[in-house]
Subunit: 210 residues, 2 copies
DNA sequence: ATTTTAGTGTGATATATGTCACCCAATTAA
DNA sequence: TTAATTGGGTGACATATATCACACTAAAAT
């Protein structure tokens, strides 16, 4: 069950009334690792705040391509679901649970209301947009200017920062996230192994650079 | 001189006090077409609201590469300059005036203050972030999934939407914005000419597709 | 224990784009 | 008027990445 204490830890900057509003209106949901939480074009019916676990956010194209953009961690919210008007109701991103997760689902009709009622909610929304905007800028920088080897390193570093140096991903997983092919990733990882940046195992490798 | 009337037209959703605050605290500045208004890494000392003209926003990399992301028009604000805390003071984007422009410069010390004082400012900031976030998503979609011919078409369409079907850009201009080389753009435009999508002239072409 | 599947390695080749070299034509400067 | 500059066209080639084909091995399923 969700306690005010948990909320206080996750969202330390909120005002008291907002915790109550969450307790009254939000539903605490769970999802298994691997679940797709939000698809491109899907109608948004509730805002998503992460309580436990990690979510990965992707840009998705018409032909099933995906590009990984950033992680969402406990205390963070999915920006696109914080809809503050009724014009935008379609998701423009793909969201997947990477671990088992718990999240708060808040019906979007409260978004407008809470913006009026709670100053700390207002700040939270701005902070969320701002930080996600920055993540997107980094992503654009990578794709627009970097070759695949650098993008792969950047990708691995994001993983390592989240989960530690043992990278439990197959080459195919990585290839999908970077919208390239498995062979390309295999070859680049081999090169990293030669350079002494990683130690490779089946299904995983260890990032030991520096 | 800046009048309350002008402000009302540009920012119809604001509350009255906010217009007064702008009139008291903002400086109306001008810049010639081509001026760089904001560079990557530059300290942000004021928020930028467009009054007249058009600004182009770019992602910039260490080696001088640029990638065009979106336009800012009158009534719109540069999201990165709407700093609401003092941790982020470095610009992560490059902003250039494409036409002669007028803009409001608001010292960033008012950002925090106005968020507290004016509800309509708060909404304005959120709306700004939200719409820019969406632009970045589109940009990522283009770079991550599309070939240069499609990206060029998308680029031209953004121009056409802003300025009309006569595209007054050299191949070199376009190449720079898409972080590619002039020859590539020349060849793709030639192909579009063959397809009957454009009529080419020196220094410009006319987009006649459909 | 044997078969199947998933993960990986690697050569060969295709394609998109980047780079270089050079040309020509139009415009601008001298 | 002539020279210089800018914009554009195009072949040749380099490079990064995508794609195909196939082999090998560890793990999982039977």
């Amino acid at each position: 069950m969700l306690s005010k204490e948990t909320l206080t830890k996750l969202f330390p900057d909120w005002e008291v009334g907002l915790y109550d509003a969450i307790l009254n209106e939000a539903e605490l949901k769970e999802a298994k690792a691997g679940t797709t939480l939000l698809k491109m074009g899907q109608n948004i019916k509730s805002a998503m705040l992460v309580v436990e676990g990690t979510i990965k956010l992707y840009q998705e194209d018409e032909n099933g391509g995906e590009y990984f953009m950033y992680h969402l961690n406990p205390g963070e919210a999915c920006a696109v679901t914080l809809v503050c008007n009724y014009h935008h109701e379609q998701s423009q991103v793909l969201a997947k649970a990477v671990t088992d997760i718990q999240y708060l689902a808040i019906p979007i009709e409260f978004m407008e209301k809470w913006l009026n009622e709670f100053k700390s909610w207002h700040y939270f929304v701005i902070k969320t947009y701002r930080s996600r905007y920055e993540e997107l800028l980094k992503t654009i920088n990578e794709i627009a200017f970097k070759n695949m080897d650098e993008r792969l390193e950047f990708y691995i570093l994001k993983y390592v920062k989240q989960f530690g140096t043992i990278v439990n991903l197959t080459h195919q997983d990585i290839a999908k996230d970077l919208n390239t092919s498995r062979e390309v990733i295999s070859r680049l990882l081999k090169k990293m192994e030669h350079n002494g940046w990683i130690i490779m195992n089946r299904n995983s490798f260890d990032w030991i650079k520096k």
